[in-house]
Structures are given as C-alpha cells and as structure tokens.
C-alpha cells in the first residue's frame, strides 16, 4: 500500500499539514524537519495524490477535449500532442465526442461549469454557438478553440489557415499549367471546408481564371463521395484537367475512380490532396498534399489552456498557423 501524508506525519511526529508544506516547498517548516520528511518521502517513493491535491484546490487536473467527430483522421496527431503536453504538466485528458450535436456539446461544457474539469479545448465545427459563448461569459475562462470561430467575443483560439493551404495547392496546379481544376470538398457549413473553397478561389483569381461552379463538388467527405465525384465531374461540359481534394477519404475514392477508368495519375489527371494523414500517405502514387502543422497546433492549444488555468494574467490571443505543400508523384509530370 502506498505511503500517505498521514503515515509520514506519524513517522516524523508532526501534523499532516507540516508534511504537506514540506513536500510542496512552502514555508512554515523548520529546515531540519523538512529534510527528515523529504528523506522519508524519497526512501519510500512517496507520490502526492494529485486528486487529493486537486480537491483541496478545487482542481481536477483533468482537461476536456471536445471533438466534432471521431472519424476525423486529421485530428489524431493533434490529439496525441495535446495529451503529451497535458501529461507533462500533470493533467489527464478526456475525449468528448460531440458528433457536431449542440446539446451534446452543451452537456460536455457543463463539466467545465460544474468544475469537474479544469479547462476545455474545443476542436473544429462551425461558429462558436451560444453554449460556448455563455460558458465564457459566465466567467469560465479556461476555454481554447481550435479551428473554430466566434462572432461575439474573444476566446483564445488556434487556427490553421486552411485557406492558405488550399491556395498553395491550387496555385501548384496552376503553375503546372492546369486551368480546369476540380475541387472536391466536404461540407461547406464547416468553417475549414469553406475556407478551403476560399483559398481555391483566391488562387484562381490571382491567375485570372474564372471560377467555374461546375468544377466544385461539395460532398459528405466519404470514400464513396470521392469516387462518385470523379464520375460526375468528368461528365460536365468543360471537364477538369486536374483535381484538388480537401479530405483524405475523398482522395481514396477519387484515386480509385481515376484508376478504374483506366486513367493515369499524374499523366491524365494530377491530384493534390489535403492533410498529411496515414490514409493519404498509403495511396499510390504518393500524393502531393497540403501539410498542416497539426502537431504544433495541438501542443499550442494545450499550452495555452494550461497557461489560462494557472495564470490569471494569461494573454487571450488568436494564433494563426500556416500549412505547407509537400509535392510528390501525383503531380510530377515526367
């Protein structure tokens, strides 16, 4: 059975509070007693009970991570990094899948209101809704948004400039001489997907190429949707000469459809995808893709949140990170 504060107190013959002060380095303990207590703690490998410490300070050392869905492969690295930073700082992370359902989101935010977690990172989604705004307005400051916007108030936010990523991808194809670039996206109600459409348009505009609505396919982001999109898009009046896909599962379906049609990538249709995910990395040929600094975004979100929890004067900021383009075989014309 592990040693408790009480055990050490009995061994040394002092009060529990004295042992607690000695171990946490607080004043009010003579040097001699402190040394004696610390020696016993070391000898018996004493570890303070985080939960008990938290109860005393009304802290739980638990962070909630609200996710819009578990199918988002893009987020797994980010989640790992959030957990890594949290663990280092003595926090555990609980995953809360909201499935983009506002009522579920509200119930998870209640964990914060009821002080059952010390802070929350809210990942993705559309606009910060009433529950998030109200949680913050009620004085629960320990909230960090990732890739989610808020119209009314400032909540510390980490954003990845996916418009810029999409701009880079489109520009890459334009630089290679392609002008009829098909864009296959997810739900444009999602902020990130709508930003990708914006980036695509910005690049076309920069190259004085008129935006053609027929070349844009908004889908549910599934593998099947990627497959179907190819079949639909090659049938339009001015068919595409290249593809930019904003989600990895869409890439799988698209590449399958292209190959099934007997076409070659990149010779017939160069393809650019979005996200440096496992799925994108195993597609053949190797895909040119937009790489987002997700690891860094995760680390940053956790660091910002932990700072908010522990520092009353933590600065509330919006930080924007830029993606890069990784060029590979799917756009390499020999």
């Amino acid at each position: 059975m592990p040693l408790t504060l009480k055990d050490i107190a009995n061994m040394v013959g002092v009060a529990e509070s004295t042992v607690s002060r000695a171990i946490s380095g607080k004043p009010g303990v003579s040097e001699e007693t402190r040394k004696e207590i610390l020696k016993i703690a070391r000898d018996y490998n004493f570890k303070p009970n985080k939960l008990a410490q938290g109860l005393a300070k009304q802290e739980t050392h638990i962070l909630a991570l609200l996710l819009p869905g578990l199918a988002e492969g893009n987020y797994s690295n980010m989640i790992e990094n959030i957990e890594k930073i949290a663990e280092k700082a003595g926090y555990q992370v609980i995953l809360c899948n909201t499935n983009n359902n506002l009522e579920k989101e509200k119930s998870y935010l209640n964990l914060l209101e009821e002080k059952r977690v010390d802070g929350a990172i809210i990942l993705g989604g559309g606009i910060a809704d009433q529950h998030i705004v109200n949680t913050k307005l009620r004085g629960n400051d320990n909230i960090v948004l990732v890739n989610r916007l808020c119209e009314e108030i400032l909540i510390p936010t980490i954003l990845i400039d996916s418009k810029y990523g999409s701009y880079l991808a489109t520009k890459h194809l334009l630089n290679l001489g392609y002008e009829n670039i098909a864009l296959i996206t997810g739900d444009s109600n999602d902020y990130i997907e709508s930003e990708k459409l914006n980036g695509y348009k910005t690049a076309l505009n920069e190259y004085s190429i008129e935006f053609n609505d027929n070349l844009v396919h908004e889908t549910k982001g599934t593998r099947q949707a990627g497959y179907d999109s190819f079949l639909n898009l090659v049938d339009v009046e001015t068919p595409p000469d290249s593809f930019f896909v904003t989600k990895d599962l869409l890439s799988v379906g698209l590449v399958e459809a292209i190959k099934m049609g007997g076409y070659f990538i990149p010779q017939d249709y160069p393809v650019v995808s979005y996200g440096d995910t496992i799925i994108n990395s195993i597609i053949s040929p190797d895909l040119t893709r937009v790489v987002e600094p997700l690891d860094y975004a995760g680390e940053m979100a956790a660091e910002v949140l932990i700072d908010l929890i522990n520092n009353d004067k933590a600065e509330e900021e919006i930080k924007v990170l830029k993606p890069k383009l990784l060029t590979s075989e799917s756009t390499k014309i020999i």
Partner: protein
C-alpha cells in the same frame, strides 16, 4: 425593427436573484441603456434577451412574439461586447462576412450587407486591410460591422467601449449614437458608467441587486430620482446626502440639519411633506446646486437658503472648482464657479438653490420630492 418587453421576469442562479420581477418595455428603435453597479444584473438582462440565459419566471417578447423558448440564433438579435475577436489572417471584409458565409447566405447578399455596413461605419476604404493595419477605433467599427451585417431587429451591446482609452471612448459614444440614428434599430446597451448612460440613452434603466429602480429619460433621472440609490448613482460628483429633520414653522417647512443648516422648503413641495413634521429625513443636494455665496448673482442669499461650512480641499477644474467641505459631521462637495477664491481652512457661506433640493424618507430611502 422591434420592441422588447419584459413581463414579470425573474432570473435566479441557485439562491442568487439576478433579476427580480422586472417589467420593462424597450420601444421600437429606442436606444435604451441598462446601468448599475457591478452585480446589479444588467448583463444578465441582456443575456436573457439574447437567449443565452433562460429565464426562471415571466415572459420576454421581441416584437409581439414571446421568445422564452426561442434559441438565440432565431431571435434576430446581434450582440456586441468589449472583447471581440478580429481574426488576424482575414481582411476586414472577411472578418465581417464569415458568419454570413457559414450560415450559407448567397454571395450577392453577403456582398450587399458587408458593403452597406462598411458605408454606414465609414470603413469602405479599409475592407481589404488586415486587423493589424487598423486603429483601435477602426477595429471597434469592424466588430460593430459584424453585428450590423446580421441586420438584426435588436442590437444588444455589453460595455462595448470599456476597452478603449478615454478619448476614443468619448468619440465612439458619439459615433454609436449617430449609428443608431442611421440604423433606426432598437438598441439595448449595458454599461456601469453613468456618464455613458446619460449621454447615449433615450431612456435609462437603473438597476440594483436585480431590481429595476427607475426607468426614465436622462434628464428625468437626474432631476427627479425616485430614491437615494438613483440620486447617488446618477450625476458626478454624486449628490450630497445629509441627515435632517422636517420642521414646521407657521405655514413653512424647513429641512433642519441638526444645527448645521436650516433650509426653507419651497412652497410647491409643502404638500409632499405633510405627515413628516419632526420626522427624520435625508436632505439631498447636488454639488452643482450649491454655490459660494460671495460670488452668487442669481440667488438672494438669506438665512433660509444658506449655511456655513469649512473648506477642506480645493480642486480647481478649470471652468469650475470642486470644494470639499465639512459641517459638523456632514461632508459634502460643491461645484462652484471658477471665480471663487475659497481656500482650505476658510469658513464660507454656501447658498442652496431651494428648487433643486431633494428630500428622501429616512427609512425607505424613497424620494419624497
């Protein structure tokens, strides 16, 4: 455009009452200011209109529709706070437009709304700029623009200017008032700053501990506060309050300050004082309604409208002087003309403009007049 109505609205957070049986009608196109000290429940009122807080009892209507169960997004309101988020990588246009984009408004409609809002706010030349290229006032306008593009029936503003420096705050006050004239929309505005309330509101609601104290135009609040709280809260420096009792001498009534002063009550207030004879009351007089008798030209100083007090501090403000005075245990401030040469330690005679005096019930703190 719409009115907002509170019918017996109560809000409780556990045992804490944030709004108690409130009745209020914000008229269509009115600029209504909710003012009160911290914790008075003004922000809660705003959030209840927005639908961010559910109400415990009563009804809230926007226009003719009871909105108790209508979610915020369907209430046709837009909120503006002091602490808004401008996204550094988006230009002004996108910072104003993203909400509409995400709500799937057609592109042409978004363009029209953003351009209209930019024109109203005079920020058309800034639409391509990024937030860091803007001044504090321009940023504030972009935040307002984000609310304007929603074309709400009611704007709800919670201390939107409190982050700005003093000079900009004064400038933005005027701009917001002009904006209200142009938009012709109902505005409910929360502030703790009574000067902001007085300068901006068509009407002002003074709140304390969740209770509505008074709803009136700025001048009515100033001239006819209904109780000591409103009297003390509105006006700067605050109204002087001094313990007194009512004396009747023949047909005349006097406010007698236990030897410190004896001011005759104007005839028009006599009726209100019936029944208060020999009773304790609180005598209230605003600093600007006291005058240095030596330089008073518009009042015949007599025994009935003056008293002596000792000058403790002299604070010259340029156009006027604040005198901090003491008389027995009473302390008071007088805002006198800059001509006054009163010095610390002087015992000077102060004139009281009798029509401006206020008498409050000692127990209830309600105004007798």
């Amino acid at each position: 455009m719409a009115s907002v109505t509170f019918e017996n609205v109560t809000k409780r957070f556990g045992d804490v009452v944030a709004a108690k049986d409130q009745n209020l009608e914000v008229q269509d196109k009115e600029f209504l200011v909710l003012v009160g000290p911290s914790g008075c429940g003004k922000s809660t009122d705003l959030r209840m209109i927005a639908g961010l807080e559910e109400i415990t009892e009563g009804k809230i209507k926007i226009g003719d529709k009871v909105v108790n169960d209508v979610p915020p997004k369907d209430r046709d309101i837009a909120m503006v706070f002091q602490n808004y988020a401008l996204y550094p990588h988006m230009n002004v246009y996108d910072n104003m437009a993203f909400g509409l984009k995400l709500r799937k408004f057609p592109k042409e409609e978004i363009e029209r709304r953003v351009n209209d809002a930019a024109e109203i706010l005079s920020i058309e030349p800034l639409l391509d700029r990024k937030p860091k290229q803007l001044s504090g006032g321009q940023r504030q306008r972009v935040a307002l623009g984000r609310a304007i593009v929603r074309e709400p029936k009611v704007f709800l503003m919670d201390e939107p200017l409190s982050n700005l420096d003093a000079k900009l705050r004064v400038q933005m006050r005027t701009e917001l008032s002009k904006l209200h004239d142009r938009l012709q929309t109902t505005v409910v505005y929360v502030t703790h700053d009574q000067t902001e309330a007085m300068t901006m509101g068509d009407r002002i609601v003074v709140l304390k501990d969740g209770y509505i104290q008074q709803v009136d135009s700025p001048l009515e609040l100033y001239n006819h506060p209904v109780n000591m709280f409103v009297a003390g809260f509105i006006g700067s420096p605050a109204m002087n309050f001094m313990d007194a009792k009512i004396e009747k001498d023949g047909d005349d009534y006097y406010a007698e300050g236990f030897g410190a002063f004896r001011i005759k009550v104007p005839d028009k207030f006599k009726e209100e004082l019936k029944g208060y004879e020999e009773k304790r009351v609180v005598f209230g007089i605003r600093p600007e309604d006291l005058t240095d008798a030596r330089i008073t030209h518009d009042l015949d100083i007599t025994e009935d409208n003056s008293f002596e007090a000792e000058v403790e501090v002299v604070e010259p403000m340029g156009s006027e002087i604040y005198l901090y005075l003491a008389i027995d245990e009473h302390e008071m401030i007088a805002r006198v003309d800059a001509e006054s040469d009163a010095e610390v330690g002087d015992k000077i005679k102060l004139g009281v403009y009798p029509q401006k005096m206020h008498i409050f019930d000692n127990e209830t703190e309600e105004a007798i007049f």
